[in-house]
Amino acid sequence: MKISDYLKEEFCIMELKSKTKEDAIREIVEVLNKSGKIKDIDKFMKDILDRESLGSTGIGHNVALPHARTEAVGEFLIGFGKSIKGIDFKSLDGEPVNLIFLMGTNPNDLNLYLRMLAELSKCLMENSFRKSLFAANSPKEIINIFKTFEGL
């Protein structure tokens, strides 16, 4: 399975309204709630924030990957949010975050989740990939960037 099989246009926010880390996470979680895969939105939110409390998922290069493996979701889901101004995520490099990919999965989906996280972090290491995501103007463009990258 590819990231583009799971990242749907309706789960991409091209301009986050939120100004803080917690609000941004909530904004993406609420959009993902439309998927019907979230069984308990409050618990999912709490589990994501609990994970953040262990250490920021702002991995540098203006990117954050908040995530949780939790019973609060039925199966793997992924959402995207872009902040033009940037959000203070307490990132490892101290830079604000512009690109946020939020992921969740049920504890039973161990292998798929690890592969997805690994693949996404690998893609996001590429400067050109990040630049394309930042320049994209529509959810469709975001999905196409993944499809192009996956086809390389």
């Binding site: 590819k2 996280l117 690994a118 996956e150």
Partner: protein, 159 residues
């Protein structure tokens, strides 16, 4: 040269059970010893830790969960082998999947490696990184890829 030692590489999925059933069928047919190997992919965890996606505590949790998942899968595999009267040794390994499988194959003089269907690629570059692809390319003995679940289920019922 007779096939005496067969290795089946398992990943804990439902598809892995099909691979195992086929391996059991072949082992019974050839009266060969079966080694059922489950490898915990520690490389992916280390990569995620290096990329700062995971913190150490998460890595430890995933290792424990993977180990529990692996042991429970191998226990089921062992029980089925006993029911079918096949000599099967179950082994849980940790590390890089293809390295562990290939090293084990060489050490135990494996005559045949059986693997599951190749996973769908994330990207074309995956061809060079997927454990199954690397086993296929680098193994020193024949490798069988199991396909066709219906056929495997039919064969399994015969033994």
């Amino acid at each position: 040269m007779p096939i005496r030692n067969i290795l089946v590489a398992l990943a804990g999925s439902s598809a892995s059970f099909i691979t195992f059933k086929y391996a059991l069928y072949i082992s019974k047919l050839l009266n060969a010893k079966l080694f059922a190997i489950y490898v915990i992919d520690e490389k992916i965890l280390i990569d995620l830790l290096k990329a700062k996606v995971f913190v150490q505590k998460e890595v430890e949790e995933y290792k424990t969960d993977s180990e529990n998942q692996g042991n429970s899968f191998l226990e089921r595999v062992k029980n089925i082998s006993q029911q079918k009267g096949v000599d099967c040794k179950t082994i849980l390994l940790k590390g890089s999947v293809h390295d562990e499988i290939l090293n084990f194959a060489e050490k135990e003089s494996i005559d045949l490696i059986i693997i599951g269907e190749l996973k769908e690629l994330f990207s074309r570059k995956d061809i060079f990184y997927q454990p199954e692809e690397r086993i296929l390319r680098d193994a020193k003995c024949p490798v069988v890829i199991v396909k066709n679940q219906d056929l495997v289920e039919r064969l399994f019922k015969e033994i």
